[in-house]
Symmetry: C2
Subunit: 357 residues, 2 copies
């Protein structure tokens, strides 16, 4: 989707990806190499006016290799801070952005002491390389301590108090090279098993949005950021609490292709290439339903003109995001009804997922 | 743009194009061959589930080669009829769609006799292979007869009475395999030297639009059409007169990428692939300004968030369409002001066009 946006702006893309047939190969030459392959990184830098990245498990060292050899955005520091849940939370705290109570857990003794402080339930998380709910364990009572430690122990960990949140939201912002900033409307996100299933925009709460936009500006300016950044937040009884940020375009912003004047993808390309940002104004009421593991035939043949299918051209695999459907409707109620219908179709095919490789 | 739409729907594209570096090569494998190269056509057919075309000077024979070997849309007959201004007008007449007065011109004597009937000014046109105003000559008085004949004589010609039109409009429609049909809002088009410069949508005239939509349905159903079709019309004192139709996505519909729920490109792909059509509902007030010969630096660096640049990645050449800018604004007045500004920038650089190859 980034590649399409770049091509429409007249750019030619080249990709570095360790996968065999990455979707990006459809829109440009691909250097197949690991992210830490110096020769490949140098080849990419030499061939490019600008390099960007859109996966937060790219090693920061790769960016350090690229930085002196090309123009590189977003800044490596943003990735470095986002990769460790501790530095991420410390950044939030430094900026006065509230976070759920947390403790560092480096040993089993730490874990026991931490849970004594935080109480049940608590969430034990690896500090690094979490993705789509992986590297997390919800500790509901004392009986879960052993399982949690067996699964995750030995790596740098963090424990967080369970936030009894009303809903999860995200705010996506873009910052241009000249420091000008735009944000898309606040988006509500629904997860199952740690994987985003549904996004809905805009969230009809101007006060909440104002706070989220302020946090976004604090982050973007602090990081001297260029590109698109996503901030995930919990809406709790105590207001907005920051969960994490991602220095990239985000699944919860895929709806901006149809739903906003300029998509997150186009504005990311504009920003990193030094162009001015496009309008982030929202269109009607938008929903996004992820297609995970397989793309149901009923979705592919969907006769509803208010929906748009995006098929990433990936091989089906259980738990893999293969595409999404965007819904644009003139009222929130109509959007919600459509999203519920789509979600129902997707859930009906869940049983088939066991058959997938 | 068709390729991007197809990829987003999960399709893989392969192109046949005689050009050295066609823009399509960015999004798929390209067979470089002439349109009448049977071996290349067979290769394309063998490798494809569906074949479509989007240039009306593709020879009908090429479609006849493809048709028995693959699924081919739009139907070859639509192209055949569109390629000859005489058969095109006869089709309009058969369907009761009014056309400007015209006469067949096969000799210089025909020309003199025709002009005596039609009066001055009249437009002499080649029946085939016209494009962007090429193959046309406006005969303003008797002194133009020789020049017109020298330039165009010897080919099958047609002469048309000059229509004192108020404005030119186009209607774009899509028809799915099951016969269901959708049209985008009526669009006003402004040409200079036969080349489309500006399109504006929607045209605020419901009565006019109803007539245009009716003509579109007549055409689509008569042709048993599948895909996107464009009908260009003159708005004259005598109502709507058909100018020509194009069996393809159209420059006057490029605004649908940002301005409509589903673009002409996506609906063309949906139609030819047997998928249901997406909504053609329009967003706010939309304008499109073509970038011809060169893309001005001032346009590339345009800081206006209501505009989106599309750069086709073509080599600059005088008279060549290299890209376009779409404007989406909340009011018609704001849209018109923006379009005028853009047009001004484009016109200012016209003088440079003489320097182009």
């Amino acid at each position: 989707m980034l590649g399409h946006a770049a091509q429409a702006l007249g750019h030619t893309c080249r990709f570095l990806d360790p996968a065999e047939n990455p979707p990006a190969a459809l829109v440009g030459e691909t250097i197949r190499a690991d992210y830490d392959d110096s020769a490949a990184l140098c080849e990419l830098a030499a061939a490019s006016d600008v390099v960007t990245y859109e996966f937060e498990n790219v090693p920061v060292d790769a960016l350090q290799t690229l930085a002196p050899r090309t123009v590189l955005y977003p800044p490596p520091d943003a990735l470095r801070l986002a990769q460790d849940r501790l530095s991420e939370k410390q950044l939030f705290e430094k900026l006065g952005i509230p976070v759920p109570p947390y403790q560092i857990v480096d040993s089993r003794e730490d874990l026991v002491a931490t849970i004594a402080t935080l109480g049940f339930p608590a969430v034990l998380k690896t500090r690094r390389y979490g993705y789509d709910g992986k590297g997390q364990f919800v500790i509901r009572d004392g009986g879960d301590l052993d399982s949690a430690w067996t699964l995750l122990g030995g790596r740098p960990l963090i424990a967080e108090a369970w936030v009894p949140f009303e809903r999860e939201v995200s705010i996506i912002g873009a910052r241009a090279r000249d420091g000008s900033t735009r944000t898309w409307p606040l988006t509500e996100n629904r997860h199952t098993d740690g994987i985003l299933r549904v996004s809905l925009a805009p969230v009809d709460d101007a006060a909440l949005e104002r706070v989220a936009v302020r946090y976004m500006h604090l982050l973007l300016d602090q990081l001297d950021y260029v590109g698109v950044l996503t901030l995930e937040l919990f809406v709790s009884g105590n207001g907005l609490l920051a969960n994490e940020f991602a220095p990239r375009v985000h699944n919860s912003g895929h709806w901006t292709i149809e739903g906003a004047a300029t998509s997150q993808f186009e504005n990311h390309v504009r920003a990193v290439c030094g162009a001015p940002l496009g309008s982030t104004r929202c269109r009607d009421f938008v929903g996004m339903v992820n297609l995970i593991g397989l793309i149901p035939a009923a979705i592919r043949a969907l006769p509803d003109p208010r929906t748009t299918l995006h098929d990433y051209g990936k091989t089906a695999r259980a738990g893999r995001k293969l595409g999404h459907v965007t819904v644009v409707a003139p009222t929130a109620a109509e959007r919600d009804r459509l999203v519920a219908d789509l979600d129902h179709i997707v859930n009906q095919t869940e049983d088939l997922q066991g058959l997938l490789p």
